[in-house]
Symmetry: C2
Subunit: 206 residues, 2 copies
């Protein structure tokens, strides 16, 4: 048994996948639970309030997912982070589409924008920390700026998700580009195999 809000938030996830952000109704969400539409309104005044609560719920899960990526070295952990967002996250294009609809609403909706900024900052901070760690350990180039790399990777991941939804560009292909970037652009130039043999970069820099 789950308590009502968790059941509602899980149902919101399903309903968003099925109907998209613009079309989904409180009725659609209630239909995915054992609750009545009236019971749903007891917890959330309107669809907007429920979606804001849903984004908070999603953020908690996102933070847990990116908080401690697998791997020993900063490079390995960056690779895991990229896979967590692009490879694993791509299982569900319909949900990704609903999130893009929400991004497109952000200029009209401060509550959405605040939540989206939390995701943006969380991912960006995680990358920044890993890159700074790699620079400090000497496994990344010492002229790499963690802030610049963090922002660039955040932008690139946004683009991979948008292109996936908009034109069907495979997120796995975007992930490969980032994996190559981590194994080449971030690695010290004098490291053996630099620029060509990058297959073992993760372990070599660990």
């Amino acid at each position: 048994m789950t308590d009502a809000p968790t059941e509602i938030l899980d149902a919101t996830h399903c309903a968003l996948r099925e109907h998209g952000y613009a079309e989904v109704t409180m009725r659609d969400i209630a239909d995915k639970t054992d609750l009545s539409k009236a019971a749903l309104h007891y917890h959330y005044d309107c669809k907007h309030d429920l979606l804001v609560a849903f984004l908070d719920h999603l953020y908690d899960r996102f933070e847990a997912r990116i908080g401690d990526p697998d791997g020993d070295s900063p490079a390995e952990r960056l690779h895991s982070l990229v896979d967590a967002l692009l490879t694993e996250g791509s299982e569900n294009p319909a949900f990704r589409t609903a999130l893009l609809e929400i991004k497109a609403q952000a200029p009209y909706d401060d509550a959405f924008r605040d939540r989206l900024r939390r995701f943006d900052n969380a991912f960006s901070s995680r990358v920044r920390t890993l890159v700074a760690d790699g620079v400090a350990r000497g496994t990344f180039r010492d002229d790499v700026d963690p802030d610049t790399v963090a922002s660039a990777l955040t932008t690139f991941v946004n683009g991979a998700q948008t292109r996936h939804v908009g034109v069907g560009h495979p997120p796995a292909q975007s992930a490969t580009t980032l994996h190559t970037y981590i194994d080449t652009a971030l690695r010290p130039r004098d490291e053996p195999g630099d620029g060509s043999d990058t297959d073992d970069a993760g372990s070599a820099s660990g």
Copy 2:
């Protein structure tokens, strides 16, 4: 005097900026012209048909805008291309938001998706050609793969536009990242000033 379709398409641009994709109506568009709503329907059956025609119109302008970027060298022309999309294009965040709404509709709408693919392919092809030209001239590294760079830049520009709309990330900052990338990652390693002094990269590689 412009003929009716051009007047309608220009009015669509204004109305999309003002109302967004989801909310805009045929009435809103007619109100921006000297035509009646009935006259609008004479040219376009419904809002969807009009928006598809609008995307075609936008594509023609896009193609003209990116077809011959300013500059003598491939690097200079790539810089101009980036500015055309991110610096100049960012003047109008409301219109960019409407386009993101349309991208989020693409999975449900084949006509939108086809049009978005034309934009994606046009930009990507333009980058590919410029990078291949730079590699052939020896002003870009010979191990640079034009296809990979073209796809990466297309993804990054999508991300810059999405982050601008979603979280207000400044597109000029994304443009700076790409300018630096063009001046460092694409340049031959043995070129003077490689990796540090990149201010004159455009002219140095011309």
